[in-house]
């Protein structure tokens, strides 16, 4: 699937870089996060005051585990896209900009993997 229209190719309006892909993914992840965030907030409110047993019992449910994995995965993906734009806009020094972008991307994917593994461990291994 291409995100570019045939007309934009015909007019020569096509980006030579990855900007469009980044832009579209930031909006698509934002759209996906609207319902998932509402689910997350309502779930967290329901979990207030509960302990380890209640939480792991709740996360053991396939729907809860799946939505939590999606929430974590899409949130971290959206976060690293957004942080990249902020660094690109405000840091003019090229090497400093690149090191900030790469550091935050590595950090986001590390925490994403850690969180998803933890959810799976509770839901499958718990």
């Amino acid at each position: 699937m291409t995100l570019r229209s045939a007309l934009s190719y015909a007019k020569g309006l096509v980006s030579a870089k990855e900007g469009l892909h980044h832009w579209v993914l930031q909006r698509l992840t934002a759209l996906a996060l609207i319902p998932i965030t509402l689910w997350f907030v309502i779930s967290i409110i329901g979990l207030v005051g509960t302990g380890y047993n209640e939480f792991t019992y709740w996360l053991d449910k396939p729907v809860n585990a799946t939505l939590m994995i999606l929430f974590v995965a899409i949130s971290f993906y959206h976060a690293q896209l957004g942080m990249q734009v902020i660094f690109e806009d405000y840091i003019s020094n090229q090497s400093r900009k690149m090191s900030c972008v790469i550091t935050v991307k590595f950090g986001c994917y590390l925490l994403m993997a850690l969180s998803i593994f933890s959810i799976l461990k509770i839901a499958i291994g718990g």
């Binding site: 934002a30 996060l33 609207i34 593994f117 933890s118 959810i119």
Partner: protein, 126 residues
């Protein structure tokens, strides 16, 4: 008369930001806040995967006054970024660009953020 020390363009120090611009930069600031907040989210999920003792430590930290302060900041950032993010999606679709509409939606975003945060905390704590 020397003109050398005059500002070259409307700069942040001499230019009163319109509300729309303030809300725009707040969207980025809350995005950074949410990215930092994902550390807490990861810590909470990972602690549950480590077991009851680690989870008790995590919830003790989250239940402390500093933890509550973090949660309050995280919830404000989350609701603001959610509400203003929906407005950004409408802007991306080419809607609500007229100044009276923008000025009205500024207040819709601000009030929705306050109401959602207040309702979430009220329901969670009662």
């Amino acid at each position: 008369m020397s003109t050398a020390s005059r500002p070259l363009s409307p700069h942040l120090q001499v230019y009163r930001l319109p509300l729309t611009a303030l809300l725009s930069i707040t969207h980025r600031i809350t995005g950074v806040g949410l990215t930092v907040g994902t550390l807490l989210l990861s810590y909470w999920l990972t602690s549950a995967a480590y077991g009851p003792d680690a989870y008790a430590n995590a919830t003790a930290f989250i239940g402390s006054w500093f933890g509550y302060l973090c949660l309050l900041g995280f919830s404000v950032c989350l609701f603001y970024h959610l509400c203003n993010g929906i407005r950004h999606l409408f802007w991306d679709a080419g809607k609500y660009f007229e100044i009276p509409e923008t000025a009205r939606i500024n207040w819709v975003v601000i009030i929705a953020t306050v109401v959602l945060t207040a309702v979430a905390w009220f329901v969670a704590l009662t």
